[in-house]
Symmetry: C2
Subunit: 362 residues, 2 copies
């Protein structure tokens, strides 16, 4: 069996989880749902599938220290920081190089750091099947999520007919990758039944993704080749990336590769999955009282319904006569936000950045 790697993408600013999340402490470094930081959960979930030295995390400079802190089990050289963000295709290329350096025959899974998945066994089974599919034919394999609602916040994968069966699981061809749809379109996808959510989980061999990048994004691939040469000549990786990474073409892997490649396969996740995209999502993972209020930490509700409270264990929040609120308390800041305005948290965070005295809250 060829060697398998997982590369976890741990970037993202996590503004949607302010004030708990900050620039240097984004969502994946916080225990938003579950008892550990989301990234630590993601690393641990791979425990049954891969040895820890085959798990690599790509993050950014601001979060490097935080990532090392929540992933003490990872070898130091397995945590790599992009000096600047160059979108997902560049990150996919960097992941490919990091694995190729260790074993050019290997295959790798690309995984987001911050999805919440409880059924680790099912996850590991799906990952194993995806690896098998990628190892036994030169294909770009993605694990799709069966939609449960007409979500407009995800891209969709329109699957084709069954192309293979591995371990009793259908492996589908892919008709098309779809960008985030409007609500009407999302409803059609849901009803059609042939659409999965694109959760950003990909599995491929080093050689397969390398060829796909060369075919569909030759400029990016040329930039990656320069980095690869530097690595081969023993240059310090951080210095090399500082110099060459900013020059890479900035494009998403969906747009650059997945929407164009013909050799894409997909299988359906049978595990639970929640990307917990913003504060309202945590409600699904906390026990509610009769009036639909949920809490993490100390809180009491009087004449209240459908509120979400997140406070530390050392801070108590009392709610009286309010509904549909998100209340989040941390040491230096408190958020009180109507649930249906959670998308405006980003705007609030932006406005903090515009005032010198408030920049410490970012």
């Amino acid at each position: 069996m060829a060697k398998r790697y997982a590369v976890i993408m741990a970037g993202g600013k996590g503004e949607r989880f302010w004030p708990a999340s900050r620039l240097a402490r984004p969502k994946h470094l916080l225990p938003i749902v579950g008892d550990k930081p989301m990234l630590a959960q993601t690393v641990e979930r791979l425990g049954g599938s891969l040895p820890v030295e085959n798990v690599i995390v790509i993050t950014n400079i601001e979060q490097l220290e935080g990532v090392r802190a929540v992933c003490p089990m990872l070898p130091a050289e397995n945590v790599v920081a992009e000096p600047v963000g160059r979108d997902t295709a560049a990150a996919v290329g960097l992941a490919m190089l990091l694995v190729k350096q260790r074993d050019p025959e290997a295959s790798l899974a690309m995984l987001p750091a911050d999805a919440f998945i409880q059924d680790a066994d099912s996850f590991q089974t799906a990952l194993d099947i995806a690896f098998q599919a990628a190892e036994t034919s030169p294909s770009l394999v993605t694990i799709g999520i069966q939609p449960t609602e007409p979500a407009t916040g995800y891209g969709y994968i329109h699957r084709g007919p069954v192309e293979r069966v591995i371990g009793n699981r259908d492996i589908f061809g892919v008709r098309q990758f779809k960008e985030k749809p409007d609500l009407e379109t999302a409803k059609c996808y849901l009803q059609n039944g042939e659409y999965f959510w694109n959760a950003g989980m990909f599995v491929w061999k080093v050689s397969t993704i390398s060829e796909a990048l060369a075919e569909f994004t030759p400029a990016l691939k040329a930039g990656l080749d320069d980095i690869e040469s530097g690595m081969a000549s023993g240059q310090d990786l951080a210095e090399l990336l500082d110099e060459l990474y900013p020059k890479l073409e900035k494009i998403s892997v969906d747009f650059a590769v997945m929407e164009k490649a013909k050799n894409v396969l997909t299988l359906a996740a049978t595990f639970d999955w929640d990307d917990v995209g913003a504060w309202p999502a945590i409600e699904r993972h906390l026990p509610a009282d009769r009036a639909g209020n949920v809490k993490q930490g100390g809180a009491k509700f009087l004449n209240c319904s459908s509120n979400i409270v997140v406070s530390g264990d050392d801070h108590f929040v009392a709610l009286i006569g309010v509904e549909d609120l998100i209340v989040v308390h941390v040491d230096d800041a408190t958020l009180v936000c109507k649930k249906d305005q959670a998308q405006n948290i980003k705007q609030m965070v932006k406005s903090l950045g515009e005032e010198e005295a408030l920049r410490k809250l970012l």
Copy 2:
């Protein structure tokens, strides 16, 4: 001129200002409005009228330390604690004894600790006129507040015809003291024009209030006489009160005396007055943004209207998409309360007292 004293009543649990107020740190020990604790403002406001040694504060055991801390200017013996609360008539009796011990010929003003009055000159003028009225005839003088709205939270004073004029100010007789009315009745009072709010500000000679207590509440007066005898024999005041105060009749001064006495006079306050009875009241004393939001401390509003935020300078509160909320942050607790449910803060505080782990928040 006979000697004049002021006795400030600084009891009250201040539950309505939770979480800022606590059992040992009630409203009058906090700078709810203005830059000093309400009690300190009340003491300072008397500065032009009385020497500081003629200002006495009656509080309770729990708040004794806090009162001494915010009133360092007062002689230690001028801060006296009731061992238990026995309603206002007993407190009036104790005030009378404390002044009588110093000067049996004196007159005294009874004042609440926590009213917000900015026009100190007008206040001192009114107080001087009330003292003159009380000193020149054996009468129970009260300073009434001209109502500005049909408030149901105050008792009312139905004034009679002008009985005297002192310093160009009308001193009225009193037809009747009225308990807190319902809204319809309050509207009638407001329209009638002969009704003042009863702000609990009384002025009388020691001999006048002593005789009134003897006439209308002889049992209470007998208990007070026992305390007086003990004081005369040099017993320690605290020990004396511990022993005898709990035995005093428990009744309000309005009900026991003011509603029955014939020799009651009243004059209208010309100073501003706000008893700042609960969180919604502080709105009147803070500058509002265009959408009617007010704040004390760090806060920002996005798509918000008519909110009140009170936070420390070291804590920032962000509100998004909410209206008519009171948000109060202190170190160990945060309150989020719909304005029109502020009366339920007491119930929340009560429920905290029912849980061992939350009792520290009282």
